[in-house]
Symmetry: C2
């Protein structure tokens, strides 16, 4: 352990001690269960981690005031438990959070769960009215807000506080202070909870066991059922109001366990003396997004270190990869593209596993990453599937394939997760809606597409890694689960080996002269051009063909130059596409435009709806690059 | 793939093809479940493995006729599914198996599960009457028996067949034949099931999906509940009739997933080109013992290779470790002791993980193993907990401890598994029975021992990794779960770090002059003598002290000598114990005897009840070594 201990940390240490001297908690094994069953809930992973290895490094973080904070699992667990006491005694059951990837976010995830509550994370890049919508719709009764974003809750006529003046907001300053007086409402709440615990006369009423017993004694308490809701993350809502996705304790537990196995978070402690194999997980993925794909729970399940990160800063990420011994991170393809293009990019000494999802990656990107010792674990999913639900398993025989065919195969979305049922691709109508037909028994059912790598259908899922549905939206839930499967809305083919590969969201397919053009496939070809950094393709109306593809590009920064992006001429680029990229003639875009930046969601997904607006109304001046 | 393909394999290949061309099965997601839930069952892991990577090597095995057999996951899945069809169409729901660690055993585990049945494995080292007792008690309606052990079922007045002449016995010859005519009843049944499938007119009625639909259509079929019983392995029954332990689908699934994470079976497929990271698991642990601690399911969950083994042969094990690239095996301390002492023992080039359990290992053994590049994963459990339920996690700071303190800590049984609730050690009375007391709230409860590494209590468990109870034995089940916990019957202390360490079975504690002597602790000291191979200590009656310890030893083979064990004189040895081993005076045994072999169960547990007999009635001549 190095780095300054926070003042608060030492106060807490004094109050509760760093050793868990209480008897192990029974967790959620309430009297309603037989001896041989306990409720599946990921909330217990923190309690367990602190019991096994209290001095293990749980959190590394550069605070808002620029200090390096390091916390052990004992400290992390004490803080989360303190906050849970605060929520329990105050009767707060629906906990909103608006924060970047801070230690307070992690504290709040576990505190909400341990006090029997529900976590509602909001995207801090939304406008105030949309943040207010999320928290109002999800019926929060308290909010934890990072100092940097609290104004989104408190300023303006349409902010949340304006319409909900009595809901408490706990501001986290995210500072590591050596002066005790500098303390925000969040730290005060943690301390208040721990003081409440410390002043309970009977030692049996303290600690995790005491907390669980206290929660169970509250009025209207119902014993936890594993199908109860643990969190309601919201969809990004690019085309409609964001929808609240209900995560169950059971689903989150099974998804978190799957992520341990699929991303290989479980280290090997049996190695030679001195070699530490603890997972060090860098928080590049926003925690508000699908509760960080359940990784807050997965990392604690294996007593890994959370390396927090307030914002994406590629220079800082490279520094942390080198200096903190990061072993894993998760990021969308766009983040990885920019990471590989950053001036600090250079091959790492030790391999790092990068779990990649959010939009379809290109083989080109995977090849680049591998060259930097960043090894892709390609997964696919959505908020409605707790984040990842499929993985592109890398088969040993692929290593013998010529050229970059290995990377092309790695770019497939693959097969259902270890704890999931299989992914299916089912036939759709011309609008991309899954269609049913009578099977040979006369039963009306969805029909799987042939495994021909050509027939496009919709990916659908079933089973434990599907969320429970949309909060307070039975119509949308019914649509999501229509016909007894979860509809992803993503179009894909199935390869002969049973792996799925996404082509597009239904609405992103370009239909030109009766031919389907996959914008994803086209983009993966355009980025092969040596000067192109990113490519995005959308349909624009065409009087003759119905639709035609238009490409938006960003370009690489000139090497050794003035740091400005390379200029590409439209005609030269389209000629390259036509003659050298090797694509079918009908797919060749007839227009392209270079921009300084592509529109993206907070999670790094391309906002094609915005691009379609640009195509119709003209590209905004602030991103337009002169041709 | 190398090695000859079996004739049967190619017949099957012709019938069903090696590619799964059927739509992915819905597995057990029957209509009774909502979209977002499916039944937790480990049976689906084989189906999933074959769908993802049909050509992966699933099984490597030296057959009874000495040939090297290699099967892919496609072949393994086809065989298991064929057998499942055979069970389903014949109405066989309770499948007994009497076999060493063969491919047929693996086929039968998955076939019984996939046809909705229950697996009942019996120990082939039992006498015929005891085998008959197990299969009769568990109500089997069919038995799979290896050719080597079928006589246990069919010969003698008290054999199973004598009293159950109509129950079919499928004999597995375990031969890899190039002549089609040599085929036992087991292979014939597999083929019959596959032919039945192949002749179903509608392709939708074939494959896994067809099988699941067929099973669901059977009369009296009930949709699978995850709490239903998947297997009934029996306890070893050293002191009473063996008891049938009911494994549920849910418990087996969660235990199997935990074993993936805890033993690190999930390989890393993201490594550099050409480096295969597939788990190659060597079957040293008997599959009949607690269904191989759930590893048949765990290994399939990660598409690992099962390296089967008909019997423990230390020379062969070393050969397989070297030549087959084995990455993992499981074995009791006694097996590891003899493996380390084998003439073939030499440090391996690549590290192998060895999951060790069944009786408390010594620090000495762990140090020896590590020197050979065999890295212990120390777990603890019993048949009633699906095998392993705790793990001795190795903390990084232990690498800095002087001497062999690291290995002493590794010899502790540790903490509850990733999918378990915490292990507890509760106070006991003088007879070693856990006792309850009123807590500060007036609630009668078990009382945890202090974390002082001294106070002896009983280890108890709760939650998902506890089996459902004993089949048809409510009295024993009530005793097992008395007071709402699972009683292990093992005595242990709790260390200040919350890890548990077993001292003895309650009945193995030696009480001498009012002092408790742990036979396990004493044994771990005696094996430090340079000539001692194994040590076992039991109590013998003593008129003055009540009891006194007596040591039974086996000795090492003289290096470079005639292969005969080293001779140790009683007086010289006891002098060494008294003056050089560093133990407390009251613990020093006053008698020792060298034997050629210690009595052990089939799973490698010392049979202390037999040793107590020897102590009373004299050591049998065939193991006695002249003093």
């Amino acid at each position: 352990m190095s780095g300054p201990q926070s003042r608060l940390g030492s106060v807490l240490g004094h109050l509760v001690g760093h050793k868990n001297t209480h008897p192990p908690s029974l967790g959620s094994n309430e009297a309603t269960n037989p001896v041989y069953k306990h409720v599946l809930t990921p909330t217990l992973f923190l309690e367990r981690a602190a019991a096994i290895e209290p001095e293990a490094e749980a959190i590394v973080h550069i605070t808002a005031n620029g200090r390096m904070l390091r916390r052990t699992y004992a400290e992390f667990a004490d803080r989360a438990r303190g906050l849970a006491w605060f929520f329990a005694k105050g009767g707060f059951r629906r906990v909103g959070i608006l924060a970047p990837n801070t230690p307070a976010f992690l504290d709040t995830i576990f505190a909400a769960g341990a006090s029997g509550g529900v976590l509602i994370p909001a995207n801090y890049r939304l406008i105030a009215a949309d943040v207010a919508y999320v928290f109002d719709f999800a019926d929060v009764d308290i909010i934890v807000a990072d100092q940097q974003f609290v104004n989104l809750l408190t300023e303006g006529a349409d902010c949340f506080a304006a319409s909900h003046p009595t809901i408490p907001i706990l501001t986290d300053l995210d500072i590591d202070t050596t002066e005790g007086e500098l303390r925000g409402a969040f730290d005060t709440a943690v301390l208040e909870g721990l003081k409440f615990e410390a002043h309970r006369p009977d030692p049996a009423d303290r600690g995790w066991a005491g907390l669980h017993a206290y929660v169970a004694s509250l009025p209207n308490h119902k014993p936890l059922d594993e199908d109860d809701t643990v969190a309601i993350p919201f969809t990004s809502g690019t085309t409609a109001k964001p929808k609240g996705v209900e995560f169950s304790h059971r689903g989150a537990y099974l998804a978190a366990l799957a992520n341990v196995a699929e991303s290989g978070l479980n280290g090997d402690d049996t190695g030679e003396a001195g070699k530490s194999a603890r997972c060090k997980y860098l928080w590049t993925l926003p925690m508000f997004h699908a509760v960080g794909w359940t990784f807050p729970w997965s990392v604690c399940a294996v007593r890994g270190t959370h390396v927090c990160l307030r914002k994406i800063d590629y220079g800082l990420i490279w520094k942390l990869l080198r200096e903190e011994g990061v072993t894993h991170f998760n990021a969308a393809p766009t983040v990885n593209t920019l990471l590989c293009a950053a001036p600090e990019a250079a091959r790492l000494e030790r391999p790092v596993k990068v779990t990649v999802a959010a939009s379809p990656p290109t083989a080109h990107l995977f090849e680049q990453m591998t060259g930097l010792n960043l090894h892709p674990v390609h997964v696919y999913g959505m908020t409605e599937t707790y984040g990842p639900i499929t993985r592109g398993y890398i088969l040993p025989e692929w290593n013998k394939l010529p050229g970059h065919q290995k990377f092309e195969r790695m770019a497939r979305q693959g097969h259902g997760f270890i704890t999931s049922l299989a992914a299916r691709v089912v036939k759709t109508d011309d609008d991309g809606n899954a269609i049913t037909a009578k099977n040979s028994k006369g039963v009306v059912t969805f029909v799987d597409v042939p495994r021909d790598a050509r027939t496009i259908g919709e990916i659908v899922f079933q089973g434990n890694i599907c969320a429970k549905g949309y909060y307070k939206d039975p119509a949308a839930t019914a649509k999501l689960f229509a016909g007894g499967v979860l509809h992803s809305g993503d179009l894909a083919v199935m390869h002969p080996d049973g792996s799925v590969q996404i082509l597009d969201r239904a609405k992103d397919i370009i239909i030109s002269g009766g031919e389907n053009i996959s914008s994803v496939a086209l983009e993966s070809i355009l980025v092969e051009h040596p000067d192109v950094l990113e490519a995005a393709v959308v349909a624009v109306p065409d009087s003759h063909w119905g639709e035609r593809p238009k490409a938006y590009l960003t370009t690489k920064t000139a090497k050794g130059g003035d740091g400005k992006p390379v200029v590409i001429g439209q005609q030269a680029f389209l000629d390259w596409v036509k003659h050298q990229s090797g694509i079918s003639r009908f797919m060749v875009p007839r227009e392209m435009e270079v921009v300084t930046e592509l529109p993206k969601t907070s999670t790094g997904k391309l906002q094609k709806n915005v691009l379609r607006q640009w195509a119709l109304k003209g590209t905004p001046d602030d991103v337009k690059v002169a041709p």
